[in-house]
Symmetry: C2
């Protein structure tokens, strides 16, 4: 190795970024040092501020530095529609389609083999949120179209149907096994429009 | 936009990283917030330490937090061979080939249209370094095989030949128009081995 200790540490810690391997981390480290130290210092500052300041919205559980996020605070939204997703990136993806209802963000999907049951992913909080709001007539289950996402949607649909609520599932306009956050907006818009009630 | 201000700032500042566009920056920001806040805080810390602590070696001008880098301090190196490159990433690339002489790092290449002449890229310091050391018998010009890199090598070769030194150029084992830091080690090793004296 021909890098000095501080540069080696920087390269190592850049690998925390998703999709960044050794070679990419090296180029990033040296380019920042050679060409944009002030940009790198700004990045260090926003990283610290965001990691320390961003929590989860108490109502929808998406990432937000406010107790109640700006989507939950928005009074012009449709209070009869709730869209349930696996993560914050999915909220962004669904927003891009023009959906203007409310959201609830699970912590991923049910995964019994990993010990992740209904409590671990926040299903009790979802039910509490629905009860507390009292205005939702339809709950759109927009978990990923994977085996686990389907199982999670079906599990929640059963609970909601028992309570007399309409549970719907986004249509399979997207490839099976794919991830919600990777699909293009048009496909996702079609999938939302083509949602169907779940019959148990 | 559906991200909160702190998250938006984080996404914006991640785009300082080379090769990172809007979509990649979004995924990075949310993945760090969801999955590895301690890794992100460590990254913030090493970014700050490196940007504030890393300077340039006074002898070879590569990036280093020490006044004299560990390559220049290494007494087992061949003091008759000096390898001149365009940037610190190139030092790393040449090291990987097994080269164990000395280095001098220019600030890029001559670029008259951008107003970058010999002083701007450090050629006077290169000549001073050669004179001060007094032991170099051959100077390998390992600038990139681009039009500007070739012109820079020829300019330096002329100065050195006038002083009675042997100036050599790495062989064109690499594709023309390519960049030194992107070529594989084997190709670069061949290019080093096949270097030839420059005849003016
Ligand atoms: Zn919210
Ligand atoms: Zn040095």
């Amino acid at each position: 190795m021909s890098f000095s200790p501080l540069i080696r540490q920087l390269i190592d810690s850049l690998r925390v970024l998703p999709g960044v391997g050794q070679k990419t981390a090296q180029r990033m480290a040296l380019q920042l040092l050679e060409r944009d130290r002030s940009g790198a210092l700004r990045l260090a500052q926003t990283l610290t501020q965001a990691m320390e300041g961003v929590g989860h919205c108490q109502q929808c559980r998406t990432l937000s530095e406010e107790t109640i996020c700006h989507i939950c605070q928005d009074t012009r939204r449709d209070d009869t529609l709730l869209c349930v997703v696996e993560g914050p990136m999915d909220v962004y993806a669904v927003e891009q389609t023009g959906f203007r209802g409310r959201y609830f963000v699970l912590k991923g999907h049910l995964s019994p083999l990993d010990g992740l049951g209904p409590e671990a992913i926040g299903i009790p909080q979802l039910l509490a949120r629905i009860e507390q709001q009292g205005t939702f007539t339809e709950v759109i289950l927009a978990t990923n179209p994977t085996v686990e996402g389907e199982a999670t949607a079906h599990y929640i649909a059963q609970l909601l149907t028992n309570k007399g609520l309409i549970a719907s599932r986004i249509a399979h306009g997207m490839p099976l096994g794919g991830e919600l956050e990777l699909v293009d907006g048009g496909t996702l818009a079609h999938a939302l429009a083509g949602r169907r009630p779940i019959s148990i």
